[in-house]
Amino acid sequence: MTRPISRRAALAGFGLAAASAGCLGRTENIAGRDPHSQLTLELNATPADSDPNGIRIARQLEEHLTAVGIDVRLNTVGQTDLWRKVLINQNFDLYVEQFVETEPFDSDALYGLAHSRFVAEPGWQNPFGLTEMAVDDLLAEQRRTAGSERDDAVAALQEAICELQPFSVVAFPDALTAVQERRFTGWTADRQPVSAAGLLELDGVSDDGAGDAGSTGGNATASDANASDANADDGDGAALRLVTTDDRITENWNPIAAEYRRHGTFTGLLYDPLVRVDGESAVPWLAADWERVDDDAVDVTLRDARWHDGEPVTADDVAFTYAFLRDTSMGSVETAVPTPRFRGRSSLVENERALDDRTVRLTVPDVNDAVAARALQVPVIPEHVWSDRTDAATIAGFEFDFETTEAIVSNNADPVGSGPLRFVEATAGESVVFERNPDHFLVRSASGDDADASGTAADPRAGVPPRYHGKPAFDRLRVEVLPSDISAAESVAEGLADATVSNLGPESVPRIGRSADTRLVSGRSAAFYHVGYNARRSPLSNPRFRAVIARLIDKSAIVDDAFEGYAKAATSPLAASPDAVPSSLAWDGRETDPVHPFFDDGGSLDVEAARAALRDIGYRFDDEGRLLSRGQ
C-alpha cells in the first residue's frame, strides 16, 4: 500500500505559504491531518505456467476490485515465493491459491487454519490472522463433542467462518490428470488421482514388474496389453514416470517446510504417518494399532519397521516427533519454534512417553475419536537425524534473528523416512527419482517364506486395506519438471510420461485425447481454491469489508469460464467432506453464493450495488469513484 508523497509535499508547501500569511493555527490543523488516498491492495497469485486456474480467479477479482474503485496490484510470483510471502512473512494483502489437503478432511482441519492461538506463528497455522473468540470456541467445541452435538458445532463453525470470511472459498476443482494406461492402471477417479494413496493403489500392467509381489490378482486381466513393448522403452520396466510444473520436489524434501510443499504427496510417501485416512475411515499405518486407554491418553503400538538407513523405528522416534513438532528447537531456543505444517494436528498432543520400544503413550486430552485419529496423521521422523537440526538457523555460522531452526530451513537432502518410497537422486529444477522401499511393511508378506508368520497376529500388514498390499507397483518413481501444463499433457500424450502431477488447465484437455492409450482422469479434490485475506491489515481486518470483497467474486462464472465446468463452486471449506455442510451453506441448485451472493447485473458486476454496499459499511469514494482509505 502506498502513500501519495507528492500530495503531502504540496500540502506542506501550501502550509508554509499560509503560515507566513499569519493563519498558522488553522493551517496547522489542516496540514496535521493525513490525507485520504485511494485504497491499494496487492493481489498475489502464481503465474499461469505454475497453475492455469488460480491466476484466472485472481484476474476476475482484479477486474471487479478495479471496477469498484480499488487500485489493485496483480502480482505473480513463483509458488515458493507466494507461500513464503503468505505463510512465513505474512506480508500480503490478498492471495489466490489452493488448500493443502486433497482428500476430504475432517472439520478439525479448520482448527489450524483459523484458531487465534496461532496468530503469531508462521506457517499454515492461521495465515489470515483471524482473531475471533466465537470461532475459537466453536473450534474447541468440535474437538470436544461427539455425535449430533459435534455436528451442530461443525455447522455453527462453518457458518461463523463463512460470515467472517477470513478467506473466501471459490471452488473445489476437479483434479484433471492426464494418464497413460499402457504401463500402470488403477488411476482413481473418485478423488485426486496423484496422491499418496492414489499412487499406492496403482497396478502394474506388466507381469515382470514389481507389482506381483503380493498384489491381489488385478494384474492378470491387464497383462494382455503390449507389456513387452512398454518394458523395452527404457530398460527400467517398472518405473512410473510423472511430469509436473512444480520444481519444488526436486530441491527440497522437508516434510515440514510449508513454502515447499504443495499437497505433500511425495513427502507423504517418504514418511509414514501412524494412521492414514482411507476414504472415510482411518487405517493403521506405521501404527499396528492404537487404543484410547482413558479420556486423556492414546496408546500407539508400532509395526516392525526400519528407517531407510537401516535403523529401527522405535517408540522414542514417535515421542520425539510430537515433541519436535511442538517445538522444533526442542527447548534450545528461548521461545518455542513450532512446525509450520501439521500444527493443528500436532497441537492435539500435549505430552508423549515411550512405554517400551514399540509402544508410545500420547496425552490427547478430552477430544472425540475422529479428532484423536487426526493427531496420529503426522509424518513420523527419525530422532537420530532430526535431533541434530534443533539449533537456531544460521547463515555461514552467523545467527540472525529469524526465529527459526535448522530443521525448518533444511532442504532435508537425502531424506531418511520409513515410507514405501525412498529417495534416490535429484537434479534441482529438473527431476527427482525415488525407489520402492523393499523393507516396507506393505511389501513384507505374511505367508510364503516366513515360516512363523502363519498366525494372524504376526501379519505385518494387519489392518491395511488389501489394495495396498505389495505396493507400490513400481520399482522407481521419476518426477520430471516441465515448463507448463500444456507440455506436461503433451508429454503424456506422446507416451514419454505416465501421468501429470500438477494442475492442468482446461486447454490441455483436448491434447490428452489424441493418443489411444491416454485418457483424462479427474476426481474432485478437497484442495479448494480460495482468496485469502490478511486480516492483520486495514481495511481487510474488517469482516464487513471482506464480506463485500467476497461478493465481488462470481464463483459460477469462474467455474464456467476458467475451469470450463471442471470445478464446483462452494461456500464452505468443508464442501468436499461428506455430510458436513449445513443446508444454509449448501450450493445445491443455487445460482449464486448463499451467504455472500455476487453483485450480479445480468452476468456482469453491478458496480453501483457494490459501491452502495461499501458506503453502507462506512467507506467513502472521491469524485472519480476511487475508494478512499487513510494513507498508512
Binding site: E42, P47, A48, D49, P52, I55, R56, R59, Q60, R73, L74, N75, T76, V77, G78, T80, D81, A428, G429, L482, P483, S484, I486, S487, E490, S491, E494, L496, G505, E507, R511, D561, A562
Partner: protein, 267 residues
C-alpha cells in the same frame, strides 16, 4: 529422441540452410571466395571481442540459476507495475490481429528467423576485409546479454501469457508445444524485462542499416525480420510492450556503446 533434441536439430538444420542461402545471395560467391584468404588473421584480430562474448555467454550459462534465485528473493517484483502501466495492450494485439497464418509466421520468426538473424551478421562481417563491424557486432551482442542478465536479476516479472491467460493465449506454445522444450532450456518465464529477443533483433537491424553500403541486399531482409521478431514477442503473448520498449532502448544503447568501445584500425 527427446522433444528438446528434436526441436534443436530442426532449428540447427533450418538455420544452416538459411545461412548458406543468404551467404550466396547477400555476400555473393566472389566475395565468399576472396574472404577465405585472411580469414584466420581476421578472427585473430577480433579475438578480444570473441573472448568478451564468450565470457558473457559462459557466465550466463553458469550463473543463471543462482542469479535466478537472487532475483526471486531480492529482485523487484514488477509484474503488477508493468501490467498496471500498459494493461491489456498485448491482449488487444492478439484480439485484433491474430490469424492462423500470422501465428504460424510469427512462431517461425520467433524461433527460426531469430536464430538466423543473429547468426548471419557474424558470417557477413567476417567476410569483410576489415574487422571493425565484426568486432562491433560481437561486442554489441555481449553488451545485450550482460545488461539483459543484470536486469533479469534485478527485476522479477512474468509475461502477459502468465498474467492474463483469460485474454492472452500462449500462441507459440499452444501451436508448437515442442518449442517450449527449447525455450525453457535457455530461459525461465520470469525473465521478461527487457525482451532480449527484441534487443538482439533490433541490434542486428541497426547494424544492417549502418552497414547498408556493404550489404545492400541484407538491409531490407534484416529490418523486416527484426521488426517481425519485435512484433512476435508481443503477438505470441510472451512479452509486454514495456519489455519491448526496454529491449529497443537496450539495443540502441548497446550499438552506441559498441561504436564507442570499438574503433576502426588504421591498417
Amino acid at each position: 529422441m527427446t522433444p528438446f533434441l528434436s526441436v534443436l536439430t530442426s532449428v540447427v538444420a533450418w538455420v544452416g540452410l538459411m545461412l548458406v542461402a543468404a551467404s550466396v545471395a547477400v555476400i555473393g560467391p566472389v566475395r565468399l571466395r576472396e574472404a577465405r584468404g585472411g580469414l584466420r588473421g581476421r578472427v585473430w584480430d577480433a579475438r578480444r571481442a570473441v573472448a568478451v562474448l564468450c565470457v558473457v555467454l559462459f557466465a550466463s550459462v553458469v550463473g543463471r540459476s543462482s542469479l535466478q534465485a537472487v532475483s526471486e528473493l531480492f529482485g523487484l517484483q514488477a509484474t503488477a507495475f508493468i501490467y498496471g502501466l500498459e494493461g491489456g495492450f498485448v491482449a488487444w494485439v492478439q484480439a485484433t490481429f491474430a490469424t492462423p497464418a500470422l501465428t504460424a509466421y510469427f512462431s517461425w520468426v520467433y524461433v527460426y528467423g531469430y536464430a538466423f538473424l543473429l547468426a548471419f551478421p557474424v558470417i557477413a562481417s567476417l567476410a569483410l576485409p576489415r574487422t571493425v563491424t565484426l568486432r562491433r557486432v560481437l561486442v554489441a551482442y555481449a553488451l545485450n546479454y550482460a545488461i539483459g542478465l543484470a536486469l533479469y536479476t534485478a527485476i522479477f516479472a512474468h509475461g502477459p501469457r502468465n498474467v492474463m491467460p483469460d485474454m492472452v493465449t500462449p500462441l507459440l506454445f499452444a501451436t508448437r508445444p515442442e518449442v517450449m522444450a527449447l525455450t525453457s532450456e535457455v530461459n525461465v518465464n520470469s525473465n521478461v524485462f527487457p525482451s532480449l529477443h527484441t534487443s538482439l533483433a533490433v541490434t542486428v537491424g541497426t547494424f544492417a542499416v549502418l552497414t547498408r553500403e556493404e550489404y545492400p541486399r541484407w538491409t531490407p531482409v534484416a529490418v523486416t525480420l527484426s521488426l517481425s521478431v519485435v512484433v512476435a514477442t508481443m503477438y505470441l503473448g510472451i512479452h509486454w510492450l514495456t519489455d519491448v520498449v526496454a529491449g529497443v532502448a537496450l539495443a540502441l544503447g548497446s550499438v552506441a556503446l559498441a561504436h564507442r568501445f570499438v574503433e576502426p584500425r588504421d591498417d
